[in-house]
């Protein structure tokens, strides 16, 4: 397959791995490298990348799975909206099984709520046109990767004057989350594999604080196996050469200044929320997006009464520590027993981008 197989060539991987081996021997200590993005976590497990790395390199699976960081209270809110008989709730497939405090969207659907999976938020506008007597609410979530497409959907709804469409906005931002992680004393990292798709939107400049203030190297990486190997090699090279820089491995897609059209769309439609409660990580200031007052008629939080309750995470669930890289999934007591992909307690077990589900799915519960 063109543009894919080139980045999965085993002989090139072998050569890169050899280079990684050589570099790692020059580093006496054990290294902890965090891949921030859930897409990387998935690829690392799918291709068995971790087990090919030298023993002194440990990968920590960070908080970059949007489904994993969605707090129970917001899921409850989405379910409450969906139970309104006038409402058709649209969302991405991953969201359906994320546990709220009592139930999930899949169960709400079985009980009669009209919940539909869409591949693009724009599909919601077509549903709105096809069902003029119903209210279509898009349950939008994700990092800066998906925010431009939802922003564009709202702009499109405004342009076409579609009045029966709104969005329940749960977009979150990567940079404040990284800051919160770096400020956590539990976390001892030696470098970051930076999120490729987020960076395609925001560029590489916003990461400069990581190297300048926190003195950590970061390499923005693509999602194919060779991308990941090369990024790890670039990180090791920085460590060996005692450099702390923002480097871009994914330059076939990521530009230094990002994508200005996407950034403008986000800025036009969304403002920064004062604070957002991340599952596992707690409240992080300035880490979420909300719909600007100018577009309030497309804001489901304005249009509908939502419970808006904050619900504490399950006591036994260690998702928080796992997202911070303090614990490995199998060190959580409920991993693989009470908490499985079929009956997830914590959200890291829901999406295939979550660290727990990736471990469970690809490495088995007997780690």
């Amino acid at each position: 397959m063109k543009y894919v197989d080139e980045f999965r060539a085993p002989e090139k991987a072998t050569a890169l791995l050899k280079e990684i081996q050589i570099l790692s021997q020059e580093i006496p200590q054990n290294l902890k490298i965090m891949e921030v993005c859930g897409g990387h976590t998935h690829a690392i497990f799918k291709y068995g990348i971790e087990e090919l790395l030298p023993n002194n390199i440990e990968l920590i699976h960070g908080p970059g799975c949007p489904v994993c960081v969605m707090p129970k209270g917001r899921i409850d809110d989405a379910i409450a909206i969906s139970k309104n008989p006038q409402v058709i709730l649209t969302t991405f497939g991953d969201t359906m099984r994320v546990p709220g405090s009592q139930t999930n969207l899949l169960q709400a659907k079985a009980q009669g709520a009209d919940v539909r999976i869409v591949y693009s938020p724009l599909d919601s506008l077509q549903i709105a046109k096809d069902n003029p007597n119903q209210e279509i609410v898009f349950f939008g979530l994700g990092f800066e990767t998906t925010a431009p497409s939802t922003a564009f959907t709202i702009l499109q709804a405004a342009a076409e004057n579609i009045t029966n469409f709104s969005m329940f906005c749960n977009h979150v931002l990567v940079i404040p989350a990284l800051k919160a992680l770096l400020d956590n004393p539990d976390l001892q990292l030696n470098g970051f594999i930076g999120p490729g798709h987020v960076s395609m939107v925001i560029g590489t400049d916003p990461y400069e604080f990581i190297s300048q203030q926190y003195h950590q190297p970061i390499v923005i990486a693509g999602f194919e196996p060779l991308d990941i190997f090369q990024s790890i090699w670039m990180l090791l090279k920085q460590i060996v050469e005692n450099r702390c820089q923002v480097e871009n491995q994914y330059h076939r897609l990521v530009e230094k200044a990002g994508n200005s059209i996407a950034i403008n769309a986000i800025n036009q439609v969304f403002a920064i929320r004062e604070t957002f409660a991340w599952r596992g990580l707690g409240e992080i200031p300035d880490s979420g997006l909300e719909i600007r007052p100018e577009y309030a008629k497309f804001d489901a939080e304005v249009k509908f009464t939502i419970p808006g309750l904050k619900v504490a995470d399950h006591k036994a669930c260690k998702c928080g520590e796992i997202l911070k890289g303090v614990l490995k999934p199998w060190e959580c007591k409920v991993f693989g027993t009470a908490c499985t992909p079929e009956t997830p307690i914590g959200s890291c077990m829901v999406s295939s981008e979550g660290a727990c589900a990736a471990y469970y799915k690809y490495k088995g519960c007997r780690v």
Binding site: M1, K46, Y47, G48, Y119, E342, K363, G364
Partner: protein, 367 residues
Amino acid sequence: MEFDAENSSLNPLFQKIAQVRHYQGRVTDSYITLAHGSGGKAMRDLIEDIFLQQFDNPILAQLEDQATLNLASLLQQGDRLAFTTDSYVVDPLFFPNSNIGELAVNGTVNDLAVSGAKPLYLSCSVIIEEGLPIETLRRIATSMQTAAKKAGVVIVTGDTKVVHRGAVDKLFINTAGIGIIPVGINLSSSKIEQGDVIIVNGELGNHGAAILIARGELALETSIESDCQPLNDLISKILAICPHVHAMRDATRGGLATVLNEFAIAAHVGIRLEDQCIPVKEEVRGICEILGLDPLYLANEGKVVVVVPGEQADLVLSAMRSHPAGKESVIIGEVTLSSPGIVLLKTTFGAERIVDMLVGEQLPRIC
């Protein structure tokens, strides 16, 4: 009016009625209505015009409440009866290279065939939503007969129900099937043992991908066709050359991964797959890349997974390749004693990962 039994045959009114009843029923409506399931004249016309005419065979033509089968002739063909049932609810009814009718015949034929049985008789029950075009039903019945003929089975009994709009989606078909297992053929997943080799008869995931595209929600254009085909002739060829095949299963819903997990659990063995040996069409790989699906879990409707003792593998493989339904047969893995109950995939980089059971649904209503 008094009824005169002696003279009734001369009564011109009765004669006329008897004469009309003798004509074969014909459906003149364009759409199915509730009357077609009422048990009255309209239903009889529908059955005669569509099903009897197509499935034309002496057992069905009796039009009794049941088919009667001659035991003595069955006993000549083997010593055990195989009996199976399956309901078909695929959406859409027609998809590239096949339709629900052909699927309903081949699916049940294949369920019988993988036990080593020679499939002989099928039933056909249809549940129709009012409003279905008669022409659609006729096309589907024609396909069923063509498929039955190709597979060498006879549809000997059936039932027709019509329900209110919305009670089912267009058309659901149930087929049950009976086959005879020849003396000496004994397939069972519990027979799988270390050293066995796993063979499939061609590209995986075509049916699942074809259905996905046929729904038209993705605005993707491909030439992928469903692999729907009967496997009984291929299987009888395999068993003729190697009666001691350990196990066989058709990889329908849940795909190859599900079948192999069932094998590994049932026989308490490990299964090792080679990623680069697993045949997947380029376009199917592409769709999976775009949508984040795994071809190992995509449905097939004409693929059999065969587990044979290692020393017989070449013999079976060449027999399979000489059959039209098995031209692309390949060895994809082997059975080991390590990691019992687990299916492992060797990635192209030489790393190993687990191939777990499918959790949740990858795609609803594929068969």
